[in-house]
Point group: C2
Chain length 247, copies 2
C-alpha cells in the first residue's frame, strides 16, 4: 500500500494560476475529494474518481480522505486558493487529531495562490505593507471576536483582507463590519471589492470607506481595506513600503 | 511600440511553485529586471537581457524598468515570493507616482506563492485561522511602529508571519521582537522557523515561545507564530478553524 493525502490549492479560478506542483499531484491522484465547485475544476480522466461534497461537511470529507488513503488510494483534497488559508488543511488536521492511529499517514500540503494575493495583484499593490487576513464567516467564531480583531487591526493600521464577507443567511454581518471600521478608520481610507478574482467575469471596485455599503460584497467577493497610507496612482491602488509614522 | 511591465512572483525557490502565468511572462520578456539572486533564477536565452541589481535600489530599478518599457521593451520585474508582499510591486508604484507621464503604461502584477504560504504548508496549517504579516525590516519604519503592531496583533490573538526577521546589521532587533511577544503571549505558544523554504536545504524548527532565541532566525528564515489555539498533531502544526473564545 502506498496511499497518501495531498491537500492542494487550485488558486482563485484562473487555471494559469495552478502551480506545476499542484498539477503533478492532480495527475497522480486516484481520488479527488472536495467541495462541489472545486472538484468541478478538475479535468476528469479514466481511473480518477471524483468525490464532490457539499459545504460545511469538511470533517466528514477529511475523515473519508484518511480512510481512502489508509486503503492505498492516492487522495488529493482540493481547495480554492491556498489550502492553508481558511480552507481544508486545518479541517484535515482536526480530523487527524481525533484519529491518532492515522498520524503516520503520508500527508502533504501544497500551497496555492490565495484570493487576497490575486486580488491585490489585480488592483495594484494594496498589501505592500503590513497586513492581516480575517475570515468574516461567523459560523466559525463569535461576532464579538471578529469585532475585537477589527478594532485592534485598525489601531495597528494594518491593511486588511476579508474572506467570506457576506452570505445570504446573514447579509447584515458585513454592514456591521463596515460600521465598526468607520468608527476606527478615516472615512477616506480606500476599500476594494474584488469579485470572481482572476476569472473572465472579474470585477474590481474601489471606493472610500464612507461610500462603502454592505451590498458591494457577496460570498464571491474578496474585500481589501487599505491602511492610512494606501492611495491611487493612475488606475492602480497601492500601499507604500515605507512608514514614517511613529507609535 | 508595445512595451510593457509585468511584475511577477517567482515563489520561494522551488521551480515547481512558479505559476504557468508567470512562466508565460518570462518566456515573452525581452528584459528581466531585479535583485541579483532573483534574476539568477531566470533561465538565460538568446534575445533576453538580464538586468541584475543590488538590494536597496528598488526605486532606481523601477525607474529603469519604466524607461525601458516606454522604449518598447517587454520588461519583467522579478520578485521572490509574491510581488505584492514586501516586494517590488509597491516600489514600482512609488516610482510611477513621481512620473505621471508614465501612468498610461501597460503594467500588470502577476501573483506568486509568498513565503508564508509555503512555510505554512511545509509545517501543516498554522495560518488556518485569522493571521497577520509583518515585515520586521526596520529600515522601512521606526521600531516603535513594529512594537505597537506586535502588541496589538498579540492582543487580537492573530497568528503572525514575520518577514525579514534578522539582518547582520541589526542582529538584536529580532531578540527585542521575541521579548515583546513573550510579554504579550503565553510562554507555551508555538513559534516556527522555516529556513530556505521549498528548497532542497529547507529546515523547519518548532519551539515554544519561551525557548525561542534570536539566533534561530536569519534573513533566509520566515518566522511564524501560532495563535493561542495552535497545536501539534503528529509531525504537523496547525491552527483550528473554530474559535469559541469571546472578546
Amino acid at each position: 500500500m502506498s496511499g497518501f493525502i495531498k491537500v492542494v490549492g487550485l488558486g482563485p479560478g484562473n487555471g494559469a494560476l495552478i502551480t506545476p506542483q499542484v498539477q503533478a499531484a492532480l495527475d497522480l491522484a486516484t481520488d479527488i475529494v472536495g467541495y462541489i465547485p472545486y472538484v468541478a475544476r478538475v479535468t476528469p480522466r479514466d481511473g480518477l474518481v471524483l468525490h464532490a461534497s457539499d459545504n460545511r461537511v469538511e470533517l466528514d470529507r477529511a475523515h473519508n480522505a484518511l480512510e481512502m488513503a489508509r486503503a492505498g488510494k492516492k487522495v488529493v483534497i482540493v481547495s480554492s486558493g491556498d489550502p492553508g488559508v481558511f480552507a481544508m488543511a486545518s479541517a484535515l488536521f482536526e480530523a487527524l487529531e481525533a484519529m491518532p492511529s492515522y498520524q503516520d499517514m503520508a500527508i502533504e500540503i501544497l500551497p496555492g495562490i490565495t484570493a487576497m494575493l490575486a486580488a491585490s495583484a489585480a488592483l495594484g499593490a494594496p498589501l505592500g505593507h503590513d497586513f492581516c487576513a480575517i475570515n468574516l464567516s461567523d459560523n466559525l467564531k463569535p461576532f464579538a471576536l471578529i469585532e475585537k480583531r477589527l478594532r485592534l487591526a485598525a489601531q495597528a493600521d494594518f491593511a486588511m483582507a476579508f474572506y467570506n464577507p457576506r452570505s445570504a443567511s446573514r447579509p447584515e454581518g458585513f454592514t456591521r463590519v463596515l460600521d465598526i471600521l468607520r468608527e476606527e478608520c478615516s472615512p477616506h481610507q480606500l476599500i476594494m471589492f474584488a469579485r470572481n478574482v482572476s476569472r473572465p467575469d472579474q470585477t474590481l471596485l474601489t471606493v472610500n470607506l464612507q461610500e462603502a455599503r454592505g451590498e458591494m460584497a457577496d460570498m464571491r467577493t474578496l474585500v481589501l481595506l487599505g491602511n492610512s497610507q494606501t492611495r491611487r496612482v493612475g488606475p492602480f491602488v497601492y500601499t507604500p513600503r515605507f512608514s514614517t509614522d511613529g507609535a
